[in-house]
């Protein structure tokens, strides 16, 4: 998580200046969730960095034709928009004011052509931009996913799930907006502003210079508004995230709430959260309710002062100060095109900052160097026989905190090794090392005499398989899940595997047999059925080396007996490592390794270990104490 931590220390000062006085209002005992202040959250914006912009632009290179056409379209549009406004003014001030009827018709037709042409171009301007944005987002998603799949397990253990998901969703989305909008909109608006300025200055430089005085004022108002609004919106987000996390826990913990009769306290607490949230929402609304009319007012005030000046200029002043009434009409249509970009560009700037933060996080992930990789000269391993040897293995997840020390053992092909020990004794770590999820910090792991480090991870994983404690199933049917490791397997092959495990009947009472759909929560399957799917999945993959973390969940005795038989079938003919919880598995293992604080303290088979009367015998007694009838 070091990458995330570094990020927080840079988070904007706005976070720190939040009023803290509201916090004590909530008695933590009445609260449903603990209140995590904003420091936990990721920054929304980051300053513009040329380096990041360049990298984002690189993603448009594969679509350079579209991008370059867009550039041209945008420039043309920057000229056309002021042209339309000018044309309106020119028509009213020109032929209409001069009562030139043929001129009126000519101008009207000309105006229509101009509008038609501009709109036709806009079709391409809009479509190309949307397509370019989507293309870039598409490529980024592909890259992100491939990168994630190549990351070692340690990354996933250290990174919060929510953070990874927001790379995929909000961060890529913010970059998309930047690509499809920011650059092009800013170009159009800037050009539009410049052209309007030139046109207005050309028509009446006096009025124009008065108008220019207003520009910095608008910028300041707009800037203040953005800061104020951003700050208020952050407060809204804060109270919102508190509201949603409370809601989520209230729903998930409903049984506890009702059992402990907390509904009134909870409802009261929730209602106070709603008050705070409403207050924050109104604060944010107030920010925009003040500034938006203020910005509107400026254009009205401007028109008023123009009318005043124009009136004096036309009716009263002579000489250099004299003005033409037509200029007033012209300015009416051009002035907004000059002022609006200030606001629009301000907003785009905001979006750009958001995109910077998103891009920064995205690139930080894609740039991340895996903690380790296959040795440069690693070779694929041919079919594995199944001899596995650990030679003086040391391992630590964090430096200075060894998890495994001096682990040595050797297993012959087809043997079953049971790993036994207290929680935290290192059983699961040994299982992970065999599958090359981590590299040992010292010593060697040999598979058929080859150093694991010299074997490519891919070729190894094609010949390993695992059944984990949490029985993770992917959405799809039972069938899909069983052929997870070998999607090409036929239905018959799957049936065959189920028959081999001698448990076809356990799937038959599912609503659609093996075509039953399982969801993320797999509510439709019982614990036993889920475990069986995992067994079948591993069986179909037919790995040479199998790693099994036995489930601890209580399944009724009848099912447990069935699973036991299936398990024995699964273990046959392959080298297996079992993090064992069931006595029957331990008893049948060829080798039992008893672990304590990362060391092998005892080894041998069940009978031999009992005879030693050491830690294993003690564990065994504890186990028996929990199950004996005596």
């Amino acid at each position: 998580m070091s990458e995330e931590k570094r990020f927080h220390s840079e988070s904007s000062s706005a976070e720190r200046t939040f009023p803290r006085r509201r916090k004590p209002d909530f008695d933590p005992r009445h609260a449903i969730t603990y209140f995590h202040p904003m420091e936990e959250r990721e920054a929304d914006q980051a300053p513009l960095k040329w380096d990041l912009i360049r990298r984002i632009l690189l993603y448009t290179n594969p679509h350079s034709i579209k991008r370059n056409r867009l550039m041209v379209l945008v420039v043309v549009r920057g000229f056309l928009i002021p042209a339309i406004a000018w044309m309106i003014g020119a028509t009213i001030d020109g032929p209409i004011a001069h009562k030139d009827l043929p001129g009126i018709y000519r101008y009207a037709i000309g105006f229509f052509c101009l509008v038609f042409f501009t709109s036709s171009l806009f079709h391409f301007r809009q479509r190309y931009a949307l397509e370019l944005g989507e293309n870039v987002a598409h490529d980024m998603r592909t890259q992100l996913f491939a990168k994630l799949m190549s990351m070692p397990m340690s990354y996933f253990n250290k990174t919060k799930f929510g953070r990874i998901i927001s790379r995929m969703t909000s961060d890529i989305e913010s970059v998309r907006v930047a690509v499809q909008d920011v650059a092009f909109v800013v170009m159009v608006q800037t050009l539009q502003m410049v052209i309007c300025a030139i046109l207005m200055a050309y028509h009446n430089w006096k009025l124009f210079s008065v108008m220019l005085l207003l520009a910095p004022l608008i910028w300041i108002v707009n800037d203040r508004y953005r800061k104020e609004a951003t700050h208020k919106l952050r407060m809204v987000q804060e109270s919102w995230s508190r509201l949603t996390s409370t809601l989520a826990e209230s729903v998930n913990g409903i049984r506890v709430t009702q059992a402990f009769v907390r509904h009134e306290i909870n409802a009261d607490f929730f209602s106070r959260l709603l008050d705070v949230h409403a207050e924050n929402n109104l604060g944010a609304a107030r920010a925009s309710a003040v500034f938006v009319p203020l910005l509107q007012m400026k254009s009205q005030l401007f028109l008023g002062s123009m009318a005043l000046l124009g009136g004096y200029g036309a009716l009263h002043w002579t000489g250099t100060l004299h003005m033409d009434v037509g200029d007033l009409v012209m300015f009416f249509f051009l002035a907004n095109l000059f002022f609006d970009p200030i606001q629009v560009i301000g907003n785009q700037y905001n979006l750009a900052l958001t995109a910077m933060a998103g891009a920064e996080r995205f690139f930080r992930l894609t740039d991340l160097k895996p903690e380790w990789a296959d040795a440069p000269d690693a070779r694929p391993i041919p079919r594995i026989d199944g001899t596995v040897a650990f030679e003086n293995i040391q391992f630590e997840y964090e430096t200075g905190r060894p998890v495994l020390s001096d682990i040595s053992f050797s297993v012959k092909p087809g043997q079953t090794v049971a790993l036994v020990g207290h929680t935290g004794s290192g059983k699961t770590t040994i299982a992970a090392l065999i599958q090359k999820f981590y590299l040992p910090t010292g010593g060697k792991i040999l598979i058929d005499g080859n150093d694991l480090h010299q074997i490519t991870g891919d070729s190894l994983h094609k010949q390993t398989g695992s059944v984990q404690q949490n029985n993770y199933l992917f959405s799809g049917t039972v069938l899909d899940n069983i052929r997870f490791a070998r999607p090409s397997a036929t239905r018959e092959e799957v049936q065959d595997v189920i028959n081999k495990l001698d448990c076809a009947d356990m799937f038959q009472n599912l609503s659609s047999g093996i075509d039953t759909v399982v969801g993320e929560k797999s509510a439709s399957l019982s614990h036993g059925q889920r475990q069986l799917v995992c067994f079948a999945r591993a069986m179909l993959a037919d790995p040479r080396i199998l790693v099994l973390d036995e489930a601890t969940s209580a399944i009724d005795t009848a099912t447990e007996a069935r699973l036991q038989t299936a398990l024995e079938k699964l273990l046959q003919g392959r080298t297996s490592f079992v993090v064992a919880h069931r006595l029957s598995t331990i008893r049948k293992a060829d080798l039992v390794l008893v672990l304590d604080h990362g060391r092998i303290v005892e080894r041998g088979n069940h009978e031999a270990l009992l005879a030693q009367n050491g830690l294993y015998a003690k564990l065994y007694e504890e186990f028996m104490g929990a199950t004996t009838l005596a």
Partner: protein, 620 residues
């Protein structure tokens, strides 16, 4: 609690008229705020018309002042400036009026924005959320199982917002639009009727195009949402199941599948992009067409001397822009109608779900219970036509420990959930100290029943807040005493911040055994005379089970305790064991008695005994 598979509650049917009526009811509830918002918006509208009219007049006054042969300005409402005013005077007065108008309008706009925000985010949304949440807290578990947590979550978040959209996005916006269009129309008509009709003829094709495209785009957007959701769901699964993927070397398959989904998302959007890029320019051309008509026809009229340049043509141009913008707006309102009705249905469904279990009006206060419990011919099913428990009768003396044994699906959990009255029986009754449960004040009664579930849910809060969940005002000593009674005190002290350690997703993870001991402490804090343990050792391994079993035994002594399990280690010391088979009570008696009688209990015992004697043989 995986046992019950309740049938979906018969969905409440709402007709569109019902929904609209109730939504109007919400608007009526906040009628003053609605009226205020509406009124302020009309003031803003009038002010902007005044501003435009004044500007047009200025132009005409100047033009007339320069060349008196031109059309004189036509002042509205029959008002004319005093004769002693020069043209310059009039221009100055008019310009200043424009500025004053600008200031007033800014102020009124602010008031309007705030009134609307207060109505929606300050009143309607919190009110609905409050009602929903309070209701949710009391609904039966069945509702949560049928609907799923994410659906319930969405009802309180997005659906509430979309429901209130009916008030501001449909009702108020619709009325505003109506008033605006009518006012503009009258204003234009007042200037020159035929010109109004000519210019507004564009509105018909414009409205048609808008509705055609919004209807065409909607399914595309929906499909797009689906595809992106699928893509994100697949992405999440790959992260959550990464260990499985890696151990089978399935990364290439997953990458291929992801790229396929990714390509689908992009390909599907092409059509949306095309439609959108036809729609926008088309509306632009159409709305500008009204200007073309204005120039040609209006120009001709001006040449004929029928309308003024400023107060006529110029004002007309300004009004037309607004008018067409409002027409395009109608499709937004039409979409909001659909959106708000769908959401409202989901919100009202929660509010209207009847409370299955509630305190009866003539309930009595609950005396401190002794813990005598009897079931009298209790029959119960989540779906009344499919009973899960049949005709259960038994009686338990205060202080007895009752073991409940049965295979998965035999009704253990269901039986236990009837005791705290989470559901009401369909037939028969349950007596507590000789009184029917239904006569008790529900909350008071439940406070005297402590429960530990199979998989204990702990809140993402501190350890002490979790233990004190049922009694937030408990003192630290009481909390500590409960923790000690549950054998949790020692491990709590070893946590980074002791009792103040935050648990949960962004806090400390506890082992299964630790979680169960905290759950036990939470139940013991209330010192309940009745304790229910629903398979408390199911999700802990055998070794951990050993750790907590003595804590459980200690907790059960001195109170009436029900413990469901199929582990004999927990059951064998019970005073009485109830054996359930397919919802029927088949055996009752202490372990020593029923273990010798043929049946499921004996079978299970034998399975475990065989296991043990074999080992003991090995030992010997």
């Amino acid at each position: 609690m995986v046992e019950p598979h309740p049938k979906a509650h018969p969905a409440v049917r709402y007709s569109t008229t019902d929904l609209v009526k109730r939504l109007l009811g919400i608007a009526w509830q906040f009628r003053m705020d609605c009226l205020l918002s509406l009124g302020l918006n009309i003031v803003v509208l009038l002010l902007s018309l005044i501003g435009l009219q004044l500007l047009g007049l200025v132009i005409d006054v100047i033009r007339h002042g320069l060349d008196p042969s031109r059309l004189p300005p036509q002042f509205p409402l029959g008002w004319n400036p005093p004769v002693e005013w020069t043209a310059l005077h009039t221009v100055v007065i008019l310009s200043l009026s424009i500025m004053v108008q600008a200031v007033i309008r800014a102020f009124v706009t602010y008031c309007y924005n705030m009134a609307t925000a207060r109505l929606t985010q300050g009143a309607i949304v919190p009110d609905l959320r409050n009602r929903l949440y309070a209701k949710l807290q009391r609904l039966s578990f069945r509702f949560f199982e049928v609907n799923g947590s994410s659906s319930i979550f969405n009802r309180l978040t997005g659906d509430v917002q979309n429901t209130r959209l009916f008030v501001d996005g449909v009702l108020l916006q619709g009325l505003n639009m109506l008033v605006t269009l009518i006012t503009y129309f009258i204003f234009m008509w007042h200037i020159y009727p035929p010109l109004t009709l000519a210019c507004l003829s564009v509105v018909i094709p414009l409205a048609f195009v808008t509705h055609y495209f919004s209807g065409r785009l909607r399914p595309g957007y929906l499909r797009n949402r689906e595809l992106s959701d699928e893509l994100v769901a697949g992405f999440s699964e790959s992260i959550l199941g990464i260990q499985t993927i890696k151990s089978f070397g399935a990364e290439p398959d997953r990458i291929r599948a992801f790229e396929q989904g990714n390509d689908n998302v992009t390909a599907q959007q092409q059509k949306i992009f095309w439609d959108l890029s036809v729609y926008t320019p088309l509306t632009q051309v159409l709305s500008q067409c009204s200007l073309v008509i204005l120039f040609a026809y209006g120009g001709w009229l001006h040449v004929q001397g029928k309308i003024a340049l400023g107060g006529g043509l110029f004002v007309f141009a300004g009004l037309l822009q607004q008018f067409t913008a409002q027409v395009v707006n109608t499709s937004t309102i039409a979409n909001s109608v659909q959106q708000s009705l769908t959401a409202a249905r989901r919100v009202f469904e929660v509010l209207d779900t009847p409370l299955e279990v509630d305190t009866s009006p003539d309930a009595i206060e609950v005396p401190p219970l002794r813990g005598q419990v009897s079931f009298e011919s209790v029959t119960f099913g989540y779906d009344p036509s499919l009973p899960v428990l049949f005709d259960i009768s038994f009686s338990v003396q205060p202080g007895q420990v009752v073991g409940v044994f049965g295979m998965t699906g035999s009704g253990k959990t269901t039986l236990l959930s009837l005791i705290p009255r989470f559901y009401d029986t369909q037939k028969g009754r349950i007596l507590m100290d000789g009184m029917d449960l239904k006569t008790f004040e529900l909350d008071e009664f439940r406070r005297q029943v402590g429960i530990v579930y199979q998989e204990s849910f702990l809140f993402s809060n501190t350890v002490s807040a979790n233990i004190a969940f049922g009694s937030p005002h408990a003192s630290h000593d009481q909390i500590m005493a409960a923790a000690k009674a549950a054998s949790a005190h020692e491990f709590i002290l070893e946590l980074p911040k002791g009792y103040d350690t935050v648990l949960g997703e962004s806090g400390v993870d506890l082992s299964g055994g630790q979680r169960q001991r905290l759950a036990l402490a939470r139940a013991l804090l209330l010192q309940p005379p009745i304790l229910i343990l629903d398979d408390p050792t199911a999700s802990v391994d055998a070794k951990t089970e050993h750790e907590i079993i003595s804590a459980l035994r200690k907790a059960m002594s001195g109170r009436t305790a029900f413990v469901a399990s199929n582990r004999l280690s927990l059951l064998r010391r019970a005073d009485v064991i109830l054996v359930l088979e397919n919802g029927r009570l088949t055996k009752t008696g202490p372990h020593d008695k029923i273990v010798h009688e043929p049946g499921v209990y004996r079978d299970a015992a034998l399975l475990q005994i065989v296991d043990l004697t074999l080992d003991e043989g090995g030992l010997g």
